[in-house]
Symmetry: C2
Amino acid sequence: MISVVVIGAGNVGSHLVKAFQSAEKVNLVQWYSRDKMSIKAPTKGIELCNDLKDLKSADIYIIAVTDKAIEALSKQLPFENRLVVHTSGSVALKKLDMKHKRGVFYPLQTFSKTSDLEFSEVPFCIETMNKEDSGQLKTLATYMGSPSYMINTEQRQALHLSAVFINNFSNQMYRIAHELSDYKSVNFDVLKPLILETAKKVQFTSPYNAQTGPAKRNDQVTINHHLRTLESHPDYQLLYKKLTNSIKTTHGLKKL
Amino acid sequence: MISVVVIGAGNVGSHLVKAFQSAEKVNLVQWYSRDKMSIKAPTKGIELCNDLKDLKSADIYIIAVTDKAIEALSKQLPFENRLVVHTSGSVALKKLDMKHKRGVFYPLQTFSKTSDLEFSEVPFCIETMNKEDSGQLKTLATYMGSPSYMINTEQRQALHLSAVFINNFSNQMYRIAHELSDYKSVNFDVLKPLILETAKKVQFTSPYNAQTGPAKRNDQVTINHHLRTLESHPDYQLLYKKLTNSIKTTHGLKKL
């Protein structure tokens, strides 16, 4: 059994609380939010807390607040020498106050308040100052049914940056496709299976090997046709050029 | 029962043949390839053909060859007034010789020779000169277990362009993430669940609403941190800026 306190009631905090509630071997001692009223998730059977002085004893304190609030909050915790971890992809481990046993428990996944997520699909990146603490965080991940990886600060920051390309930038590709199809009154549903298949393909083959299309084929006729079609969307025309050149560079082809 | 002849043994042709073989109500009459030896798929029980003069009678002739070969091939077909369709996302319907009943049967999906694909996940975009022919193509899609949509040439070309953003450009985002994580010796597997979840999310919510991250939050501290990390990859640093600005424009924020 591992006992935890969750600090913060944003997306990550709320999902963690939910996961801990359904994990048999995890005891959620308290859920702290500066403003208890701001908690939108069901809180039945959970001890809420809005004053750091009231925090109870637990094996692990998980700080799931915005990046810039982590450092100050870790200082304010009214105890020392307990395991305190943050969940951020970009904040250094050392930003946590050194009076604590310090760690990072970063879930590399996209969370939304509205949709549920299987925690088996949430890999945790773990970093700690002491080796025995990493063991405890690994066990916590196991209790949640999640894979975990030992990742240092520099690696975590590279992953966080990579996640922006994968999540935010791919999503912007979907958005552009949504606009372009909408512009010609085509239902976006037609494109949804392609979105899924594109993601599934790289689960088993590298993105390098998965690449297809006019840039990879060096098919200038199709590229020119697309660029003409994009004359009504100059921003997207420019992005099309840059991204086509990026693919060409990756595959050793001459740029546009 | 619908009888078909497949012309071409590339990715699309090979997948269609496989789908037709397992579709009870489709009779695959022949599979034409200029070079029979080039066919890598199993051909047991299929009548192969490498001379257009030997083509037999069928309800639908499906031309699945490279875009630039479609027009000439449709002229060479030694019959007229039969339903001849191509499978290209970008070639106009009218490029098919007018001696035929003409149509398009464009599968909007990414195909690879190595991996199987459920045809229930392959939407077909249908366009024809005559209404009754579209009914027959719709039935063919139904027999394959595939959804289908009536799409005109201009719409199909917008979809083809959209598919480049969704498939090729998202895949390049994955590739960049692969490079960035590899550069810090992080296993790309850590990022795979995020790739899938990003794609799943927009099956039920719009890409606009699904967007998260530093660009959408207007989080300049994180953006600057990422740009510094990318100093070792100037091409990707530039792409990061352009894509961040694209998200900011979409969400009404001031550009970098």
